[in-house]
Subunit: 408 residues, 2 copies
Amino acid sequence: MSLEKKAILVVIDGLGDRPVKDNKTPLQLAEKPVLDELARGGSTGLMSTLGRGIIPGSDTAHLALFGYDVNRYYKGRGPFEALGVGVELREGDVAFRCNFATVDENLRVIDRRAGRLKDEGAELAKSLQGMNIEGVEVIFLSSTEHRGAMVLRGNGLSPAISDTDPHSSEPLPVMESEPGEASEGAKKTARIVNKVVKESKAILSSHPLNKKREEEGKLPANIILTRGAGIYEKVESLEDRYGFNSCCIAGSALYKGVAKYVGMQVPHIEGATGRLDTDIEAKAKAAREALRKFDFVFVHVKGADNAGHDGDLEGKLLMVKKVDRLAQILSKEDAYLIITADHSTPLSIRRHSSDPVPVLIYGDGARRDKVQSFDEVSASLGCLGHLTGIELNRIIVDLMGCGHMVGS
Amino acid sequence: MSLEKKAILVVIDGLGDRPVKDNKTPLQLAEKPVLDELARGGSTGLMSTLGRGIIPGSDTAHLALFGYDVNRYYKGRGPFEALGVGVELREGDVAFRCNFATVDENLRVIDRRAGRLKDEGAELAKSLQGMNIEGVEVIFLSSTEHRGAMVLRGNGLSPAISDTDPHSSEPLPVMESEPGEASEGAKKTARIVNKVVKESKAILSSHPLNKKREEEGKLPANIILTRGAGIYEKVESLEDRYGFNSCCIAGSALYKGVAKYVGMQVPHIEGATGRLDTDIEAKAKAAREALRKFDFVFVHVKGADNAGHDGDLEGKLLMVKKVDRLAQILSKEDAYLIITADHSTPLSIRRHSSDPVPVLIYGDGARRDKVQSFDEVSASLGCLGHLTGIELNRIIVDLMGCGHMVGS
């Protein structure tokens, strides 16, 4: 098949919600004239990204939205974080999400975020480069604030090991990484991780930036904690599958990472912060520019998820307003515009939930249903019915003219 | 995850139906102000418990509603009946549903229900205890009226054998149980069952209670007929899976048995008869009390299914009225209230059917859709869309805060 029309997929992270006021969800409460106009002019429906009643993670939800079966392709979050911060992964690399943290002399975690670093991460990460343990190369890259990624590169590694991050707000000790299976690879990998963590304590404790932080009364970022181990396997790209090229417009490392994993180009977008303060005009501009060179443009907007996790209604409403503006700009392009969320992050529970999210497809080929508003309840009567992420991806690919007929 | 809110699941057995009068189903005809009010205030949808067009059994439908995949977990009805009447099953037990029946001297079945026993079942079952055939222990327990359960306990048994119950209203002879596969276990089990049935005839024929029945002009309960052989395997409980404890409020053995199978506590409820005359106030009270100690309370109401099998419209309408009262009481609790049916039992065909049943979720986190009435047609426009039993279970578990995220 050959391309018939380009498409823009806008994913508003964590947008879906439950009733918060007057029995209405934030989307039902929000002023969003453009989104409602597009709903009136296009097809709507609901989506349970991984299936009804299944709570999606951010990584798995996006894999599904790009058409990749989670059961087959999901290997842990680490590789996506590493790809997202710019590591060029090789087959067999084992990657981790990591935090700079603060521990006391007994290795108890005082603060998992080391008092939320400002810009010191890159400098601290540099000091950790060059470790080589049992012939395995250790790569660090920092991301925003206290966040970063670690990659182990060498032979015979296994991702079947436990986290060293105790995942608690209590001052628990750093965990020993344990092999999760009897293999030599898992034993070796756990051993290396434990050595790296110990070594990071030695290096970071004496780092000048930490001395400075302590002098300023701040917590030192004196250890790294690892979690989300995953092995990298190269997969066929969207271009291999469907013949179209694609581009990711996002601010947060994870989403850039998933996009890279499936072969998208991932330019740096100045002003895309992955927070409520993201510059939506900059993202809209970047998306429009990308559309000149690319067939499929994925635009990720993170803030609504943050607002959900913080129970911040005003923040969520602000993000809807920003997305309404984004939709206004992008709906003028000669491309299908698909607007949806990866999952719900209801304000009342401050976590991801399985509550379905609305989907909107706008553009010449989209059937026009009777739905008048872009929200979780109205869209339940839309002509798209109830989709999974994989199904939505297939529908988009077909609208683009790039699907494969089954049979003849 | 940890519990965010408790839940009550009310299953109105066989509630779904087809049009019976003025093109309306019994639910559309019924006065049910509370159910309609809850529908207006919550989320609604339809459910095909095992999938579209699949006719659910009572046992399989409940397995699915509790989140257990029927293909993997369903091993025949016998074990549920045995658990339901109070047998503490062990791994490898082969259990049967059985009837006390009346046969003539040629072992032709005159009445499969022995003229529907009153209270003699327990006494008759006692007389059958203590049989041991080929090293296999035989356990009997009576249930309501002519019903009971039999368990074979010993090594090398197989459930792959046929019924001895001819399942006919014609006076057919008692069937020989035949092995359904070539295994020694099946041959042995069939052999034992045939001996037990023969032996039951000898014991029961001379039982004083049967002499008395005959003197009173009643049919003697002079044999037991077996069906629904199934092997018992212990499965992970709801608590193992989700971390919440649970309780079953039911009158009929089968539902108690399925509940026990998945690890629920199953108290005896005085007044819960499993018939149209069930004491709904007693069940409501028991459910409210259970909610103090348990996170998940399953309330089963049987009568509507009986009415469906009897083609009894008035009976079905009466049960809807009773459930409306139940809903009134339970909707006041600080818990999600989910009301649905396991399957349809249309009055016009007097059997289970695959027609979908309405689902209603009421409680703080439930999105409010536009549906105004709790019935099969109105609920088809609800925001839950069309669910399977497994999907409804996952949605409930997530609402409770006990789901597992896929990915991170």
